[in-house]
């Protein structure tokens, strides 16, 4: 249950209300929201207490989440949350593009891809160092050495990096290499031991939807992260398994507008793993941003035919440039904007002071 208090309720009355609830042996959390005190009660309330709280003078609204989550519920914030990945802000009124190879394959390749990703205008560099592969004979990733190569490449071009963590035992290596965002892959979405460990790392977390997970299971997995103290969670829709076999999975864009009602967490879309076919990715990316996604995550490789994993779904660098340009258009027509590229040239001082560019002076010639 979420108690949205009246705006301006004094902190001492908020504390008194929490003490009343906690006196019944229930756990409460206070939203970091500054505009309005919001209290989440994560344990089941006895009916009498629920009635008492609903009638409390400071309680403006009582919200019951649609499922087994509370801290990630939309009602726990006044506005959708924004997650910082390095200097990139994910969510709000900006759209981002995450790009990079499926797997880190070596330092030279990683540096080349990083340059191409930056030059295309993307915002975050991705690359797998620990790879969850269906076959034990498939390339398993470079491990810790891959993390080092990814971070070095990201630093060289000024991009924050995201990489998948599969085992809590690897967490120190991710932190040692200052990986900006920890990705929990689809196969590990309900690895609760991993979720708890990652939550304590105080890093941004990209939580992919399990390939057979319902939205409720997905959001409840995100609740594990929030319960562990992580308030920097990004959701990533990456396709679900259906009867359709023409594509690798089925991209579930249906849930994007629904998620904006159910959770304050930003949602991005990974069209590459959803379809598995590179030529379909531009259209799916446009659709994702048009449907409200805060960004897309795609794979790019200078020579996809030689990629050690997922080559058929990797974009060429030129295709990534086009995808970013199209994301800018989709962002604008949905009332948002493409996030400034990290390391982009600063606007002239006059433009910055004006908040936009220069004073508009549009007059059509007679």
């Amino acid at each position: 249950m979420i108690l949205r208090l009246e705006v301006g309720t004094p902190p001492e009355r908020v504390q008194a209300l929490r003490a009343r609830i906690e006196g019944e042996g229930l756990r409460t959390f206070l939203s970091p929201e500054s505009a309005r005190p919001i209290v989440a009660v994560v344990d089941a309330l006895p009916g009498s207490l629920a009635s008492e709280l609903a009638a409390h003078q400071d309680v403006a609204e009582v919200v019951r989440p649609h499922g087994g989550w509370t801290l990630v519920d939309r009602a726990f914030r006044e506005r959708p949350s924004v997650v910082a990945v390095g200097g990139v802000r994910v969510g709000g009124d900006q759209v981002i593009v995450i790009a990079g190879p499926c797997s880190v394959e070596g330092p030279e390749m990683m540096r080349e891809v990083a340059r191409r990703v930056r030059d295309a205008g993307a915002h975050v560099l991705r690359g797998g160092a620990f790879k969850p592969r269906t076959s034990p004979w498939a390339f398993q990733g470079l491990g810790v050495e891959g993390l080092r190569q990814l971070k070095d490449a990201g630093q060289a071009v000024g991009l924050p990096v995201v990489s998948e963590i599969m085992d809590a035992a690897d967490l120190p290596a991710f932190l040692d290499h200052d990986v900006d965002c920890l990705q929990i892959g689809a196969r590990n979405m309900q690895n609760f031991t991993l979720l708890k460990a990652v939550a304590g790392a105080r890093r941004a977390v990209l939580l992919k939807r399990g390939m057979s997970a319902t939205v409720e299971e997905w959001l409840t997995a995100a609740e594990y992260l929030a319960a562990g103290g992580c308030d920097q969670v990004i959701l990533c829709e990456r396709g679900i398994r259906t009867f359709e076999r023409a594509t690798r999975n089925t991209l579930d864009l249906t849930i994007l507008p629904l998620l904006s009602e159910w959770t304050h967490l930003p949602v991005i879309v990974d069209p590459a793993h959803a379809c598995g076919i590179a030529r379909l990715i531009p259209a799916l990316s446009r659709a994702a941003v048009a449907a409200g996604a805060c960004g897309v995550a795609v794979e790019v490789h200078p020579r996809p035919e030689t990629a050690r994993s997922d080559g058929p779904q990797a974009l060429l660098p030129g295709e990534l440039t086009q995808l970013v340009a199209e994301a800018r258009v989709q962002a604008a027509v949905t009332g948002r904007a493409l996030h400034p590229a990290p390391g982009a040239l600063a606007p002239p001082p006059g433009a910055r002071a004006a908040g936009l560019v220069r004073a508009p002076r549009v007059r059509f010639p007679s």
Partner: protein, 82 residues
């Protein structure tokens, strides 16, 4: 009087025009933001306007579009293309 000849324009079409106008407004402002982040030599439209207008499928005339793009360039603080 059938609906097609009614003096009152079709409200759905008016709505569509208004929506397109809002989209054009958003795109013009987004272009201005983007230009502001570029060095002037990279932002100036120059010969690119000619190339763009050669691909104009109509129905707007190239000279009218040239005037529109010139106005957008000036609004972005740029010298209009030729």
């Amino acid at each position: 009087m059938n609906e097609a000849t009614n003096e009152s324009p079709n409200p759905a079409l008016r709505h569509q025009v208004a929506h397109l106008d809002r989209t054009l407004l958003a795109l013009c402002n987004e272009r201005a933001r983007l230009v502001a982040s570029l060095p002037p030599e990279a932002a100036n439209r120059g010969a690119r306007a000619d190339d763009l207008l050669r691909r104009n499928p109509g129905p707007l005339a190239a000279e009218d579009l040239r005037a529109i793009f010139a106005a957008i360039d000036r609004g972005c603080g740029l010298e209009p293309g030729p």
